[in-house]
Symmetry: C2
Subunit: 333 residues, 2 copies
DNA sequence: AATTGCATAATGTTCGCCATAAATGCAATC
DNA sequence: GATTGCATTTATGGCGAACATTATGCAATT
C-alpha cells in the first residue's frame, strides 16, 4: 500500500504564469517578429497578453537568464543578438506541468485497464500522490471530458469510453457530422491571415517537416488546422464540440500506429481544402473535407482486427439515456 | 458592503441525496410501477440507484411523512393506498437546489446585460452572496458550458455566447449536423422500452398534456426525446454534444415566445420519426428529423427582427482560434 | 512623455481541521 | 433466510487562516 509513484507537484522553479508568458514571448521572438535589439516595454507585452506588468517582468527576467533577451538596468529589456536562435532552441522543451502529467498517466492507466471502473477519491489520491484539491481539479477535468463521473454516493465511476474499441472511430464520425457542416455555416469567413498561417504550416510539413517533427507535434498541427477552419464558421458551439472531441481523441490515438507516409497525403488534402475555401467554394470544400475524414474511418476500420487483440474490459452497457428512472444526477459538486 | 441578498445555502431539511432519492422513488410510484401495498426493501432500492441503504431509508422516511409510503415498524415500508396520487402531486414541485437557482440568476443577469464582460471573483461573491467554494462550483460549471472563462491573471471573462442574437439559431444548426447523423450510425438500436416510453410521453402531450404542462416541462420533454433517439446511436460523443448544447439552449430559449400551437406539430413529428425508427427506416427518419429541426431554424430566422430590438452588449470579437500567438491558456485551476 | 523599479494593496490558492453524509457490519425480528 | 434498525467505520465537503500571486500607484530615471 505504500507505493512511491508520487509525482508530488514538483516545486516548479518559476511560477506558472511567468513560465507561460516566457514561452509565449520566446515563441514570438523565435518566429522572427521582433528582431534583435528591439525594446520590449513591459506595459506593451502586458496589454498584449491581458495581464499586468508584474508577471511580464518575471518572464523577462527568466528569458534574460536564458539569454533570449538582454536586461539593461533602468532601461528595460531588449531582444538579444542571438535571441532568435536561443528562443527556437527553447521552443521544443515545453515541459508539461506536473498536473497534466498525472492526467495523462491516469488516462493511460485507464486505457490499459489498470484502473478499476469504480474507485474512491482516497484510493486515487494514494495512487497518484496528489492533494485533495489537485485531485478535484483532475477529476473535474476528466468529468468534463466525459470519461469519468461522480457516483451517486461516494466515489467515481470511469466510463467505458476510453476502453471501447471503436471509440476512436466514433470520434471521427462525430467530426464527419460537424466539420463539413461548419464550412457551410452562413457567414463563414476564413480570415486571410489564418489561412496563410495554415498554408505555411502545411507547406512546411511537406517540405520535410513530416520527417523531423515529433509524433506529438504532428498531431498538434492536425488539430490546429481543423480547429482553425471550423472556427472560421463563427459558430462557437461547433468549434467547442470539435475541441472537446479532439481532447479525448488525443488519449486514443496512441493506439493507432503512426505511418508517416499518411501525413503527406493529409497535408496535400489540407492545402486543397484551403484553396477551395479561399476561393469561396465552400460546398466543394465541405465535400473534400468529408472525403478527407472518411478516409480515416475506412482505414481505421480496416485495421480494427489488429487492435481487437489487445485486452481491455468488455464493452459493457454504456447506458444510453434511461429517460425515465434517471440515474440520480450526481450531487451539486 | 453588507447587503442581504445572501441565498446562503438554506438549511435544507433533508440532506441532498435523500431528497433526490425521494423524488426518484416518488416518480416511479407516480408512474404506476409498484402498486399500493408493494413492499419496498431498502437493499433493492439501494442497488437500483447505486447507493447504500442509508440514504434510501432517509428517503423512505421522508416519503412516509408525505404519505406516499406507509412505515410499518420492524417490517419496513410499503406503498400507501393513495400513494400514486400523492406522488403525482409531489412530482410538480421539484424545488431547485439553491446553487442552481443562483446559476440561473447569473445566466439571466448575463443575458440581460447586467453582468459586465469581466469581473473578479470577489465581486461575484458579493453580488450573489455565495461562499468561495460555492462560487468555484458555479464558475466551473459555467466554464464547462462555455459561457465564461478564467482570465489569464485574476478574474473571469464572460463570453459573448449568451448575448449574441443568433446563438440560439447556431445551436440548432449544430443539432442539425449531429442528430440526423446519429440516426445513421452503424449499430443504431433504439430499444423497444425507450421507444415505448417516448411514444407514451408524446401521446400524452397530444391528449391534452400540452395545455396543462408548464413551459419548463414542455422544454424538458423535448430534450428527453431528442437525447433518447440520439443516445440510441451508441455514439457517446454525439450524445454528449447534444446534452451540452441543450444545457446552453435552455438559457436562451426563454427569449423565444412559447406558442403552444407549435407543440402539436412537434409531437406529431416526434411520433412519425419514432415510427420510422422502429421500422428500421433510419435514412427516412434522419430526413424527417432534419426537416423537423430545419423548421425551427426557419421560424427563428423569421422572428429575428423582433428580438434584435432588445438591448445587449455589442457582438465583439469572439476570437476564433488565433492559431499562433495563443492567448495564454488560463492556469491550472 | 514614457518607462522602469519598487512598495503596497487586492485577489486567489492551498492546506488542515472538523462537521456531515454514506457505507458497512451485526444483532434482533419478521 | 431475508430484512430491519442501529452502531460503527469510512469517505467526503465546507470553512477559515496562512501563503502565494497579481494588480496598481508612484517616485526616480531615461
Amino acid at each position: 500500500m505504500e507505493r512511491e509513484l508520487t509525482t508530488r507537484a514538483a516545486p516548479h522553479a518559476p511560477a506558472g504564469m511567468a513560465a507561460e508568458l516566457a514561452a509565449a514571448i520566446a515563441g514570438e521572438i523565435g518566429a522572427g517578429l521582433m528582431p534583435p535589439g528591439t525594446h520590449l516595454p513591459a506595459q506593451l507585452l502586458a496589454d498584449r497578453f491581458g495581464v499586468s506588468r508584474f508577471p511580464v517582468n518575471q518572464a523577462l527576467r527568466l528569458l534574460a537568464e536564458q539569454g533570449v533577451v538582454r536586461a539593461e538596468p533602468r532601461r528595460g529589456f531588449f531582444v538579444a543578438e542571438k535571441g532568435r536562435r536561443t528562443a527556437e532552441a527553447l521552443a521544443g522543451q515545453g515541459g508539461r506541468d506536473p498536473l497534466s502529467r498525472i492526467y495523462f498517466a491516469m488516462a493511460e492507466d485507464r486505457v490499459a485497464g489498470r484502473l478499476p471502473d469504480s474507485v474512491s477519491e482516497a484510493a486515487l489520491r494514494e495512487r497518484y500522490g496528489v492533494s485533495k484539491g489537485q485531485l478535484a481539479q483532475l477529476l473535474d477535468r476528466i468529468a468534463a471530458e466525459g470519461w469519468a463521473e461522480r457516483r451517486p454516493g461516494y466515489g467515481w465511476r470511469f466510463s467505458s469510453v476510453l476502453t471501447t474499441p471503436d471509440a476512436l472511430e466514433q470520434t471521427y464520425r462525430l467530426r464527419l457530422a460537424i466539420e463539413p457542416a461548419a464550412l457551410l455555416e452562413p457567414g463563414y469567413r476564413l480570415s486571410p491571415e489564418i489561412a496563410a498561417q495554415c498554408r505555411a504550416v502545411e507547406e512546411h510539413m511537406l517540405a520535410g517537416g513530416i520527417e523531423t517533427a515529433s509524433a506529438d507535434a504532428l498531431y498538434e498541427r492536425g488539430v490546429r488546422y481543423h480547429e482553425a477552419i471550423v472556427g472560421a464558421s463563427g459558430n462557437p458551439f461547433m468549434l467547442d464540440t470539435l475541441r472537446r472531441v479532439n481532447r479525448i481523441r488525443r488519449l486514443l490515438v496512441y493506439r493507432s500506429l503512426t505511418d508517416r507516409q499518411r501525413f503527406y497525403r493529409q497535408a496535400r488534402e489540407h492545402l486543397a481544402i484551403l484553396d477551395l475555401l479561399e476561393a469561396g467554394r465552400n460546398a466543394e470544400a465541405a465535400e473534400a473535407l468529408r472525403a478527407h475524414l472518411g478516409a480515416v474511418v475506412t482505414s481505421l476500420r480496416s485495421m480494427r482486427g489488429l487492435l481487437e487483440a489487445s485486452g481491455g474490459s468488455p464493452p459493457i452497457g454504456r447506458g444510453a439515456t434511461p429517460l425515465g428512472s434517471r440515474s440520480l444526477q450526481s450531487r451539486s459538486r
